[in-house]
């Protein structure tokens, strides 16, 4: 179980003598991912998804709130002490090419964390070799042909699998996949998604999935939760299918409306929301963060900020004063 409570992160544009600029990347994010569970985060560019992922993976510090791994809160610990805990959470990067050292073969790449582990647990060299082959098989690669290759000799999908295999060498409890499939060819995407789901089921690894393609969130597992982030705040949270099918927050609705309709396979939505204008970062922080862009804003929105809450008749949590279910996504032809 990995939980986060009220995580806040503010970036200061550093350096210049006068006037530092501040960016509020996260404004108090709560989340909870049970062991073997899955959570997907969506939101438009710059809403803080990557930042959150990096914080959870221990690669970034945070200003307030806390990450709790198992039942150990991280804040009181010194950086050195946090390390073993954060090692249970492994990050899968968006760009599989840069995530692998071009000067090292797959064998060398896997060897380093394995030998560390072997040293810690007093295991032998042969264990390392076995384990290397094992994790590669786990991600669907043939150890024999892959081990001696350099990253540039692998395709994007294979590289991403190697990255996942490397993460598996330390027996992680959670994988943080930041846009893990967006740079992979369309035809190969599903393979990686299936792999992540498979790992969850077989190894009990939980998966934190960050994406801008909502559809992919469904492929991590149907028991997963979907978090919609807007400007560093979670505005809607609930089971994936529920949120997709019956979004209540206008922002979620806009986001889903923006997904292209596959004419020929799908029919346009019944209540689509007009596309939003692009995000303007310099907007004021007063009231609801979404108020300025919101097509359905009410009078409370300008002055008061809604918090994530459960309201009557709405299965998912949301941060809106006027939640209303709208069917904004396309319908499959087959249903009609």
């Amino acid at each position: 179980m990995i939980t986060g409570t009220g995580i806040v992160k503010t970036f200061k544009q550093r350096g210049k003598v006068l006037g530092a600029r501040e960016v509020q990347a996260l404004r108090g994010v709560d989340f909870a991912i049970p062991k073997g569970g899955a959570a997907s985060f969506i939101g438009e560019s710059g809403c803080g998804k990557t930042t959150l992922g990096r914080i959870i993976a221990g690669l970034e510090t945070y200003d307030a709130g806390d990450v709790v791994i198992g039942d150990v809160p991280m804040s009181p610990l010194k950086p050195k002490q946090r390390q073993p805990h954060f090692r249970k959470i492994q990050m899968i990067h968006q760009d599989p090419y840069s995530a692998l050292n071009p000067t090292r073969t797959v064998h060398q790449t896997l060897h380093a964390p394995l030998s560390l582990r072997a040293r810690q647990t007093g295991r032998s060299r042969s264990w390392m070799e076995e384990r290397a082959a094992e994790v590669l098989s786990m991600v669907g690669l043939d150890p024999g042909s892959v081990l001696s290759r350099y990253p540039h000799q692998l395709s994007g999908g294979m590289r991403q699998r190697v990255v996942i295999a490397r993460a598996l060498t330390v027996d992680p409890e959670m994988l943080v996949a930041d846009e893990a499939v967006s740079m992979i060819d369309v035809s190969l995407r599903l393979g990686i998604l299936a792999l992540l789901k498979d790992l969850r089921e077989r190894l009990g690894v939980s998966v934190l999935f960050i994406t801008h393609d909502v559809a992919t969130a469904r492929y991590i597992g149907d028991d997963g939760e979907l978090y919609v982030i807007y400007r560093g705040q979670v505005v809607e949270r609930g089971p994936v299918d529920t949120v997709i099918a019956d979004p209540v927050h206008p922002y979620t609705q806009s986001l889903l409306s923006a997904i292209p309709v596959l004419h020929g396979l799908e029919l346009p939505a019944e209540q689509p929301v007009e596309p939003l204008e692009s995000l303007d970062e310099s907007q004021s922080d007063e009231g609801c963060l979404f108020a300025r862009r919101c097509p359905f804003r009410g009078e409370r929105c300008a002055s008061e900020r809604p918090l994530l809450q459960v309201t009557e008749g709405v299965p998912q949590e949301h941060a809106c004063f006027y939640p209303e279910r709208r069917s904004v996504i396309a319908r499959p032809m087959s249903e009609v």
């Binding site: 035809s187 596959l262 020929g264 319908r331």
Partner: protein, 325 residues
């Protein structure tokens, strides 16, 4: 616009390899045609060859690109070619890439463009530009006064579209118009493309790797694989009833927002690169579930027929065999 037998080769240490092979494509006036294909399938190369702008070490080795009122672009040289670009064919670059001179304001670049094409009334040009930008939901005056870095990705893309259209080009090529854009911005841009296209009666070519984009805007859809056009036809038809095994696989591989998630299946194997595209036989055979012996040696012909919404074409031995059967 008619593309006939277009072949573009790149010079590599392994010799000249075709990135686009024997492509026939017809863009009907007033339609939006979408080309989809995975990375490296030759989409950009094809797009550039429409303007006879393939960059060295590449060159157009065969075929023609006939444009109404212009003739064969492949045969154009220097000044003629330059004049054709911009005035007849508008080209819109990928969004996040910087297609604007970072040191000059958009307005100045607009004037440069006008001067390059001998526009007499620059004032009118500016007016036109402002109007176009306004139509796309931007404050024209402000945008013209801005430098590239002062504009967001979506705004830049709109400026790109404006520059492509301001000289009244009737043919517009958009290469990956929404890649690297936010989905909300993407939806905006797509909406604009559709509207402007309709308003100005353009002939538009949208090139993308995202089927969703094509499905959203295009009337017709062409699928590229390994430098070949493997299938084309009206978007709805191709999506709804794909014929080529690659098209089928590709559509099946799209993660679905609705419906049964298990309907989607990954396509086995991986897309070819210039060096791994087979020199003869069907380019797709390595990943094809319907592979036959003939596929190894004979390049399938394009088989065209006319469907309900327009002509369809597919290049696959298996389809041909099935039809014959």
């Amino acid at each position: 616009m008619r593309i006939d037998g277009l072949t573009v080769v790149y010079k590599t240490p392994a010799g000249e390899l075709p990135a686009v092979r024997d492509v026939d494509l017809r863009l009907e006036p007033g339609t939006i045609t979408g080309i989809v294909g995975e990375s490296g399938s030759g989409k950009s190369t094809l797009a550039l060859s429409l303007l006879n702008a393939v960059q060295p070490p590449g060159r157009i080795s065969a075929g023609s690109v006939e444009i109404d009122g212009l003739g064969d672009v492949v045969g154009l040289r220097n000044e003629q070619l330059r004049k054709a670009r911009g005035k007849h064919i508008g080209y819109v670059f990928q969004a996040a890439q910087n297609s604007l001179n970072p040191l000059k304001t958009v307005g100045k670049q607009l004037l440069d463009l006008g001067r390059s094409h001998g526009v007499e009334d620059l004032r009118a040009l500016v007016r036109e530009a402002k109007e176009l930008l306004g139509r796309m939901g931007l404050d024209g005056a402000r945008v013209l006064d801005s430098h590239q870095h002062e504009l967001s990705g979506g705004m830049r893309q709109r400026v790109g579209i404006m520059l492509a259209l301001v000289l009244n080009a009737h043919l517009v090529v958009l290469d990956e118009p929404t890649t690297a854009l936010d989905m909300i911005t993407q939806a905006n841009i797509l909406k604009i493309v559709r509207e402007v296209h309709a308003e100005r009666g353009l002939t538009t070519l949208v090139i993308t790797h995202d089927i969703g984009v094509v499905a959203e805007v295009a009337d017709r859809l062409a699928v590229m694989y390994g430098g070949r056009l493997v299938e084309q036809g009206p978007t709805r038809e191709v999506l709804g009833a794909p014929r080529h095994p690659y098209t089928k696989g590709l559509i099946r591989a799209i993660p679905r927002l609705v419906g049964d998630i298990d309907e989607a299946q990954a396509l086995p194997g991986r897309p070819p690169t210039l060096a791994t595209v087979p020199a003869e036989g069907c380019v797709f055979r390595e990943r094809c579930p319907l592979r036959m012996d003939v596929c190894d040696t004979v390049d399938p012909d394009v088989r065209a027929d006319t469907g309900a919404d327009g002509p369809r074409a597919v290049a696959c031995h298996a389809v041909t065999v099935k039809e014959h059967a």
